[in-house]
């Protein structure tokens, strides 16, 4: 039987190996899109905020799974939400791509877009603007942390099991959250490395790359929407 601290370390190291073995391939396109969307602005803080948001969402999901102490019941309850997040992620990436190519002005996008609440609209506007506040990547990370992902499910399965073994519901909530936070923290190095490699500030003539990147982002966005509808 593993001690409590050993389980947390195991989840962190699992996150690290999953990060390099799985997330780079599956979440790489998102990180690439976020990097391109920065258009040469410093990328360390935005990516740290994005990863923090993603990890916080994992922690929240772990808390709920641990509290419910049943993975399948939990997964069933968030199934529709995850499908919606996949489609939303696709739309966000397409909008960022459109904004980056410069083919459509941000104001035109927002005139055409349905009113989705002042707060969300403000976040979208910030993400599409030339000058973005790094903190804007935190809500994006919180949202994209909800994307369906096999290894996240596997970790949540263990979080739900830890809830089953806990003496109280609160114990299950805390252990589930702790395990998922450790897992999320473990996945950060790989995705952060990807963000460093896709930082194009070193490139002298990058305007053409940004236009090409914008098109690539739209393709990635369409792929996400298609996956979300298939899911």
């Amino acid at each position: 039987m593993l001690s409590t601290s050993s389980i947390y370390i195991l989840f962190f190291t699992t996150g690290v190996t999953i990060g390099f073995g799985h997330c780079i391939g599956m979440c790489g396109p998102i990180v690439l899109s976020l990097s391109l969307n920065l258009k040469g602005a410093p990328s360390v803080w935005p990516h740290l905020f994005y990863n923090s948001g993603r990890t916080l969402t994992y922690g929240l999901l772990g808390a709920i799974a641990g509290g419910m102490a049943s993975f399948t019941r939990f997964a069933e309850s968030i199934d529709g939400l995850q499908k919606g997040v996949m489609v939303a992620a696709g739309v966000i990436i397409i909008l960022m791509g459109l904004g980056m190519t410069g083919w459509v002005r941000t104001s035109v996008i927002f005139r055409a877009a349905p009113p989705v609440g002042t707060f969300l609209t403000r976040i979208f506007k910030q993400l599409l603007q030339e000058k973005k506040h790094p903190l804007m990547y935190l809500p994006l990370g919180l949202l994209l942390g909800l994307l369906p992902c096999g290894p996240v499910y596997t970790a949540l399965l263990a979080a739900a099991r830890s809830g089953m073994e806990a003496d109280t519901t609160l114990g299950g909530v805390l252990s589930g959250a702790g395990l998922m936070l450790c897992f999320g923290l473990g996945t950060i190095p790989a995705l952060f490395l990807v963000s460093r490699l896709t930082d194009l500030r070193w490139l002298r003539y990058r305007e053409k790359v940004y236009q090409l990147g914008g098109v690539l982002m739209m393709v990635i966005g369409l792929y996400f929407i298609w996956q979300g509808l298939q899911y």
């Binding site: 699992t14 190996t17 999953i18 073995g21 799985h22 780079i24 391939g25 599956m26 790489g28 396109p29 690439l32 993975f71 399948t72 997964a75 069933e76 994307l147 369906p148 992902c149 096999g150 290894p151 499910y153 596997t154 970790a155 399965l157 263990a158 990807v194 490699l197 896709t198 194009l200 070193w202 490139l203 690539l216 996956q227 298939q230 899911y231």
Partner: protein
Amino acid sequence: MKARRFNFPLFGKGILFLVLLVFSVYQPGVSSATDVNVDCDIQSGGCQKQINVRTIHLEILPRPVKAMTDLTFQVKISGDSLSEAPFIDLGMPGMKMGPNRVTLKKNGAATYEGQGVIVRCKSGKTIWQATVTLPDIGSVVFTFDVVY
């Protein structure tokens, strides 16, 4: 005229960027259905394999075997009784999915049973593997298709 020097760091970063771009689209490690040999029709019934002289019979219930649902894994082992209970590790061929172990408990003379869940992969691939391990004896891999 001054000759332009080749910029190695810039070239290296460019290559890395291209590699990453290809990686993000290609999704390495995701095996296609055609390059993985499905050797167990778990949807029709149990499957059998050998470890030395022992026959290992795996059955997953209820059928159809569906991802994201509670499943019962049943393993029947021929030969002398085991000193330690076997266990099953679930994973996808060529894709890291995190540790997902089904612990089995004795449920009859040569039968072991345990509960587990096969999770769903966003890639849409449905081929999964169950590695049945008999401690101190060896392990055997069953590759099968699940329903999403």
